[in-house]
Symmetry: D2
Subunit: 406 residues, 4 copies
């Protein structure tokens, strides 16, 4: 059925991306994960990015006018799955989070000045960026609880507050920061704004790369804790109208969530592939392969069914976004967010179990994802919030008054 969504152009592109990953990325990814990111960024990854440009595979999600391939969301979804099969896939083609979201945001809502100063370098891959929204002392599931403020004074915003999980802040050229600009606004969803902050601005302090599941990481592979201490930028750095922070965040996070889901399908496929390869190669006794065990076969069957279903659901949500916009597809996006995250975790868990002790080591790519993608059920809204969004939407259609939150 997916064939109905796959024009010839895409059909031709897919094997080319697949080949690129298999030839250039898989063989090096484990070594790369134990190499300082800066070394990669100006070496292996830089070369691959140049290769991607040469082969006309660069930035599949961007319009051709911006140097990309001009794929629709539905088309990009299918490429994104391929890139997701390695932790470095999206980076190589410049469609990695958080930059892809910032690219979209500036493309849609940036001023000409912002575009020429920041967006162009970003789409060309010359700089990296980050997105600074989550706060350690406030639940990400309730964006109206926000402690960071941006006070306008003399044509400038003075920003104070603390953010964390500002992914890839280490080495980024600028951050897009969510801060409260109008704390008294009776509508809590109109209190915050997005502001662009170059990371060399005084008062922007990368406190630490947060140790996450045993790794502080570095560069793009890190999550920063940022102190904004009287960090001051000109008011021209505001993105969109003042008070539009949450509206823009919805615009940014909605497709962002679908990007994650696409990528997760790719991880699932890679893990599933490793699982099957192990099942046919590992002997448990003479002449008996692991894959002959019914338990392993059950896992293979259930995972195949769930991954296939996940893909269809993600493409269905992408299709709805294309037809009706991200806002109309809000519920579909919540649905795939919790559904695919669950399948992802289950797949990685099974793949590790099939690898036995080897699965615990960093000698396969599985342990990297097992650790870092545990966050899939947390970031961009925990499962619990997305389930509630979906359920309340349904019950509202049945006439329930859902204004009274539990």
């Amino acid at each position: 059925m997916i064939e109905l969504l796959t024009p010839d152009k895409l059909r031709a592109l897919k094997p080319r991306y697949r080949d690129f990953m298999e030839q250039h990325v898989y063989p090096e990814e484990l070594k790369a994960l134990s190499t300082p990111f800066k070394t990669l960024e100006f070496g292996w990854l830089k070369n691959l990015r140049e290769g991607a440009k040469k082969e006309k595979l660069w930035a599949p999600h961007l319009p051709e006018s911006m140097g990309g391939l001009g794929l629709s969301l539905l088309e990009f979804a299918q490429i994104s799955e391929i890139l997701g099969t390695s932790p470095f896939g999206h980076f190589i083609f410049n469609c990695q989070p958080p930059d892809i979201g910032n690219q979209e945001l500036l493309h849609l809502f940036g001023t000409e000045e912002q575009k020429s100063t920041f967006l162009n370098s970003l789409t060309e891959g010359k700089i990296r960026s980050c997105f600074s929204m989550t706060e350690p002392d406030n639940p990400g599931s309730n964006p109206t609880k926000m402690g960071t403020t941006a006070i306008k004074k003399d044509g400038q915003y003075v920003i104070n507050g603390r953010k964390w999980f500002t992914t890839a802040a280490d080495g980024a050229s600028f951050a897009i920061v969510m801060a409260v600009t109008d704390p008294e606004n009776p509508n809590p969803y109109q209190r915050a704004s997005m502001i662009l902050v170059p990371t060399d601005t005084p008062g922007f302090k990368l406190v630490r790369n947060i140790p996450v599941m045993g790794e502080s990481g570095e560069g793009w592979l890190s999550h920063g804790e940022i102190a904004y201490e009287n960090c001051t930028v000109p008011e021209e750095n505001l993105i969109g109208p003042e008070g539009s922070g949450f509206t823009l965040a919805q615009e940014r996070l909605g497709p962002g969530r679908i990007h994650h889901c696409m990528r997760w399908i790719g991880i699932c496929e890679r893990a599933f592939d490793l699982l099957c390869k192990r099942a046919i190669s590992r002997e448990i006794k003479d002449g008996v392969k692991l894959g002959s065990q019914q338990t392993i076969q059950n896992w293979i069957a259930e995972l195949r069914a769930e991954i296939n279903a996940s893909r269809l659901m993600v493409l269905d949500a992408a299709w709805k976004i294309e037809q009706q916009g991200a806002k109309a597809a809000r519920v579909e996006i919540s649905t795939i967010k919790f559904m695919v995250a669950k399948v992802l975790q289950k797949t990685l868990d099974a793949a590790i179990q099939v690898h036995g002790a080897l699965g615990m080591t960093d000698d396969t790519i599985l342990s990297f994802w097992y650790r870092h993608e545990r966050a899939a059920r947390i970031y961009d809204g925990p499962d619990e919030v997305h389930k509630s969004v979906l359920a309340r939407h349904i019950l509202k259609e049945y006439g329930m008054d859902t204004s009274k939150k539990q």
Copy 2:
């Protein structure tokens, strides 16, 4: 995305079927379930069948030349879901199992004689039929273990053996029986044949309607245990070539399984609807509705996701059958068989829990399905077999020698 699979003709038909179900079927179904089937068959159901013909909704799955609407499998899937929302839906439009499978079988492989004598009356709804394959002493999951024999003698087949779960044998005009005709054939899949047996043939004995989950049932709503005791029919009653029984069974059961899946989606939707209605109406304390509870909301969200995913998977399998035939889609059919059966059971269980004590009673339709659709994970191959089919297919592609069964 489903819109891509829905031509205008189908778009127009769907609300008409839905209206029919809501106006004529739902209001009477509980009463009907406690009425002897014969009373229904010559009363309420007969009237509704006439209504269906009048409204040109009869036999959506049959070619127009046979009095039907000529829907493709993919189109019929969407109608079947609507009919599945009541236990009587498919019967009213003459696309109920086991008759729908027998219609297809005779249409494709019957002789002209067989068609004029049996098929026409069947498609017109004048008679019913049954399919006699499963045996009490042999596992349905291994069709090559079969005890019923048909010995050819003097231009006749003399059939002996015992079958059970011959659904709707009570009141059927004929059975299609699987029996071993060539016990010595080295290929066990070429030992059996399908033979058409009028139920008034001497030696065809309906031993009992098997008590299933507390109900023996009656008529179409029953499962017969049949003794074939020197039951003798002319050799012209053979369907297809001798020894082709399993080949035909695959032809018959493959789409049959997809019919079940379509129907189960309908059951899921109805149960989900009842669940939501209960959630918005039942007070657990003053002013607090059951639906405000997060546990209920979690169930609603998870079920919505899983039912939607199931539908996409079923349509995807139907699409593949249309493009490449049932044989090529064998694995997809196995996949949806175990996947949708699981979602079905989960949905019914949750709907009952939300109804509390009421859910245990026959005052809702849920308890009927809870009991009878427990079989969904068993008939036409238990989950375990379908998972194995899928897994072994995958592992074979990876190069594993799957000829050695565990």
Copy 3:
């Protein structure tokens, strides 16, 4: 470890109960389930009850002064498990619900008059009783929502209201009814009282035996819907002080819940035994038994672990009740209620799956329990309520203010 809880007296009793069940009950139970209950009550069951008395096995839970064996709760738990292996076990030894709860209630709180008139006949097995609390229009999970009233007038209570799931009302000699006697009491838990109502009182109407999972049942095996229409009894029929209904209900339901759990363990053991017997006897192909399949082995292992754990938990709760009383063990009782109900459902489901089509029929005892014990997760408080009780108790110890209900 259980040996520590098993005095010699009990050690000697256990095989005697087990033998009784195996010799007299199992061989007849399927036939009995398809026999009208009245026939059993004055035939097979009557004989077995006399046998139980003769063999000094009668009423293990009652004090010796009341004709029983004087077992402690912890001792009775182990006998109850054995009786639970058949639907008729507890009835034969006169410790079946709802009578066992009513016996305890009258023993502890009944007047001498009530004891001599009702309790003695009940403990001797001459009459049956029922307990009338749940109402169709009010959630059982919130006992303070109760519509049935008992208005005192001229030394009599005039009762009006509708109850359902009054188990075993059909043929009972008296009901114990929960009714609101003081609707204005500011404490909602002090509004209701328990009143003893002989079923031949004018105004006591058994509207119907509710069809439950396809069966209306009869006699002890039924659940009545009762209309109280100006049903008038003398005020002496009050049990305990006026307004003590909920306090008494807690006393009655607390151990009642543990009785259910004990019984469920017995069901689990019987289903597990049937599962294993099927696994070693059913061939799936020549020489290969179902039990050789790893999926079946996984089920066996997981169920064995979960049933064992359930038993330890139930005995642990019984031990706490004996040491500190039912009130102190309220949380432990809630815990086993939802935990064992889950294991019960899982065990029955697996046992049916292993039996294949046979598991769907009434040719094994499994389908009876599959249908009727679906209620285990609903009656005496649904899982959701018991989980909440446990969690709120824990969080309160951590200092959370749980007075504000969600």
Copy 4:
């Protein structure tokens, strides 16, 4: 009920261990985890070990004659749970794996020479040891597939082969190695022996500390890959009779598995405690605590039930070992191995989810266990093997021929 297993001596000890952990260990454990192990070993941990000796809490599992407290297995289980609440608990009291297993082994089967040279220093905490059994190229689930050989020549064993997951090899003074000494023995379980190898023996090469879930670790907190290259030791270093390797391994691993389970219960309790503390402190909106959410309450209730059940099961297995020996309790040990490992993983997962983004960081202890205890379902036999052991034991009692392995 556990009180029945808790003599006064133990009742007095428990709060003392608990206080020690709370005062000395919890406050430092996060910092310790990011400190090189050698620094800890000769600093913080050394001081704490001295404190443990001073407070007469040292080596609870060892006989008093060996400087310990002489607790029985059943008593030690309850202390072990307390120690398990921090990754450093067992180390501080010298009952950490792999040393505790080696202590038991040498105590039971070592020669006087081996005891005086190695065991005494080990029990005094002066040296550390390791156990070298698992091989990278052979499945741990099938111990008869072993590539490492020890060839006797001139009164010496010449050992060759490769081992991995030799936990704590880094810094250990000696290893106990499993190696094949009699490759032609028709009984594969009599081919291997255990040999004591000082780590400074030429030919003993620590190839690497295996990177496990992102960390290579160091010292006791590491898993070594060892090359044995003509590593030669005197034949006096044989432990027990030649060919007794698997028999000794069973002796060593059986209680070893129960040690793991005890420790896991401790981890569960600590994670549960952190979960509850987070639930009562984290606001999701003004005045609404996370713990008020029904989903969180469900997790709390289910985990409490499962952890309690796990503890009872572990104590029950320990009780059986004490009564009948480890061999008789083999099945009980397999049962708790897979059961508790599952509860452990579920508890850690839920605790992380409740902590949200914080749960992903190393700012709580949860992420350490989430990563490293993923191995709980793998080491000392994966779940799948232990389930099979249990199921086959049960089916054998039902008469199934389980000699033919699947």
